[in-house]
């Protein structure tokens, strides 16, 4: 079991990150080339000023028309993303892995705090599930990819929490690592690709609205 775990946090993790890096770069690069080749009349309007204007305004909760109209979803979305990023970086085991690999040290969350954040993040996922099932519009457009993505995100959270509570013994940390690696590898190929592209689509529409349409896009 131990050697399996070591393999998962060692070579397998390296492999997952390398696959992510390579495929993410490849996806971004090929998208950029495609844009240059076939969307020249859109790329020409890209502007730092209007891109940042749009990104910043959408990063402020309840600032845009969309956020205002969907208050609960907005709260859940912001909480989910913030908690997820904080957990990824600041839970102690992750920091230890980084320290072992690169010698990086920084303050981390107490295990109680991590558990609370994990619980909150799982609750957010539950809300996403609930909304996907009960909101008529969302249900109308939901396909299997949407469930797969949600599952990929939820799995490492659930296994982490169960592991922290000692449920399932040694198998749970292993499952956590494996599901997390699945998530990492899946990013460029699923709906999770929005992690790679959302900033650019936001920047693009911000540039169009700012530069061509002289109008805000939030």
């Amino acid at each position: 079991m131990n050697s399996l775990y070591n393999f998962a946090v060692g070579p397998l993790a390296w492999a997952a990150f390398i696959i992510l890096a390579v495929t993410a770069v490849w996806r971004l690069w090929s998208m950029y080339n495609l844009a240059k080749q076939k969307d020249a009349s859109s790329v020409a309007y890209m502007s730092w000023q209007f891109s940042l204007r749009s990104i910043v305004n959408w990063l402020i909760p309840y600032n845009s028309l969309g956020w205002k109209t969907n208050p609960v979803l907005t709260a859940v979305t912001f909480i989910f993303h913030i908690c997820f990023v904080v957990l990824v970086i600041f839970v102690t085991p992750h920091q230890i892995l980084l320290e072992n690999a690169f010698g990086i040290t920084y303050p981390t969350l107490s295990s109680e705090a991590a558990d609370v954040l994990t619980l909150i993040t799982i609750a957010c996922c539950c809300y996403f599930v609930y909304r996907r099932v009960t909101n008529v519009t969302v249900r109308y457009v939901t396909r299997s990819n949407d469930w797969i993505s949600l599952g990929l995100v939820a799995a490492p959270l659930v296994t982490a929490l169960l592991g922290s509570w000692g449920v399932g013994g040694e198998i749970m940390p292993l499952l956590h690592v494996l599901t997390a690696e699945a998530l990492i590898v899946a990013i460029p190929f699923t709906r999770l690709a929005h992690i790679l592209f959302a900033l650019f689509t936001r920047a693009y529409i911000g540039s169009e609205f700012g530069g061509v349409r002289h109008c805000k896009d939030w």
Binding site: K38, A40, S41, A44
Partner: protein, 444 residues
């Protein structure tokens, strides 16, 4: 003054375009008979007269000896004033006052609900339901116009209407010598929102009123060659397939788009911009001669010997320039217009601008100092050694010759004309109500 507009035949004779077939541009004017004594002369005080209800825009004869304007004498009573004299012929309505290259003053006139053309104060005998889009031969001796007669459409040349008229006609053209006329005509009537009939093709080209037997979905911009009365036009065969038709015969290939075709100076071939794979190039008789690599490519022109081919192109999105034999100039501008090729065919000039302001004059890829609120098409001298252009800045008009201001400022002025030897330039303008004629030496 422009005598013929091969690229946009629907646009009448305004602006400063020059016929691409003319070996020597000045030859359309008989400049050798004009007064070329250097100096400024006042031709007439053209201040509106108090007994006229109003006076319209002033035009000046090519030789600069006459200034004319439409004047309104009374309710529905119009006449033409030339220098100080007002013609005794009055009409209910006059419009499109133009001097032909031979110095004849032409105007559309209406009397008793009938329209005609008045040339040198004499109305044509024929009258029409409506007349528009005047077209002049290079020498100005022949004049064609679009006409509507009893709700049928066609053309009239020198006052003789086509024998056959059509449901509709547009995109009018005449041959450089003015002997032949052509237009896109609608040969089949079509009911309201009748998609099927339209798809089957209801348009053709009529030359001197006789329609070709090929009927197509769309045809645009018929153009004649220099001397053999051949005609080429843009066509759209289906909603998606564009091509060129030459004397009733289609090119073999179709494209995603085409722009105005042009005959080679010898009249043997036709060259047109074509779109392939979302990019533009140039095709000759249906075969690509400039690969489709440009974001746009149009306004192609030949040197008089046909050796050099010029066009306005956009090598990248949003960046235009002029290409000579498929090699773009290094300069780039958001907009390039008014391409002019020198009579010797070795030089070209064009206008560059941003948002229709900051106009600059480019000759062979380098830009003259100074930018203007508006600029007109550059004019080469007969020896190709000098270039002149009319410009406007802060409401004042002036003429630049080889980049230098010549002849002073005007409230308005007309395109400069070079003397035969290219040593002098005639500048015609109006300043403080006075029509002025200035002859100046061409600066180096």
């Amino acid at each position: 003054m422009q005598l013929y507009f091969p690229l946009l035949p629907c646009v009448p004779t305004k602006g400063a375009s020059v016929n691409p077939w003319m070996a020597k541009e000045a030859s359309m004017y008989k400049t050798e008979t004009w007064n070329w004594e250097v100096g400024q002369r006042t031709i007439a005080d053209m201040t509106p007269k108090s007994d006229h209800t109003w006076q319209e825009e002033i035009v000046m004869s090519p030789d600069g000896e006459k200034a004319s304007a439409i004047v309104c004498l009374d309710d529905a009573e119009f006449s033409i004033r030339t220098n100080d004299d007002v013609s005794e012929n009055t009409f209910e309505k006059l419009w499109e006052l133009t001097y032909a290259a031979n110095g004849d003053l032409c105007c559309y006139a209406m009397q008793d609900e009938e329209w005609t053309m008045v040339v040198a104060d004499k109305p044509w005998e024929e009258t029409y339901g409506f007349v528009w889009s005047p077209l002049f031969s290079c020498d100005g001796n022949n004049i064609a116009t679009a006409v509507q007669q009893d709700m049928e459409y066609g053309m009239s040349v020198n006052g003789s209407i086509w024998e056959n008229l059509y449901e509709n006609a547009n995109n009018f053209a005449i041959s450089p010598d003015g002997k032949k006329s052509a237009a896109v005509v609608q040969v089949t009537p079509m009911g309201q929102a009748d998609l099927k009939t339209f798809r089957n093709g209801i348009f053709s080209i009529a030359v001197d009123g006789i329609a070709w037997d090929t009927h197509l979905m769309n045809l645009w911009t018929p153009v004649f060659d220099a001397n053999a009365y051949r005609v080429a036009a843009q066509v759209r065969l289906t909603l998606y397939d564009y091509s060129i038709i030459v004397d009733n015969t289609l090119w073999d290939n179709t494209y995603q788009g085409v722009w105005n075709p042009l005959f080679t100076p010898d009249g043997k071939h036709v060259v047109a911009p074509v779109r392939q794979g979302g990019k533009w190039g140039l095709a000759k008789d249906g075969q690509l001669i400039w690969k489709a690599t440009y974001a746009n490519c149009w306004h192609q022109q030949f040197s008089p010997d046909g050796e050099n081919l010029f066009a306005i192109v956009a090598p990248e999105y949003g960046k235009f320039t002029v290409a000579v034999n498929d090699v773009p100039w290094k300069m780039r501008s958001p907009v390039i217009t008014d391409l002019a090729v020198s009579p010797d065919g070795n030089s070209a000039a064009a206008l560059a601008n941003t948002l229709n302001t900051n106009w600059q004059i480019c000759v062979n890829g380098s830009t003259w100092n100074g930018s203007y609120d508006m600029a007109w098409k550059p004019v080469f001298c007969p020896h190709s050694s000098s270039v002149a252009a009319k410009v406007r800045k802060n409401g004042k008009y002036s003429v630049l010759v080889n980049g230098k201001n010549v002849g002073g400022e005007f409230d308005m002025c007309f395109d400069p004309i070079f003397s035969d030897d290219g040593g002098k330039v005639l500048i015609r303008g109006v300043h403080e109500g006075k029509a002025l004629r200035v002859v100046a030496n061409v600066p180096n």
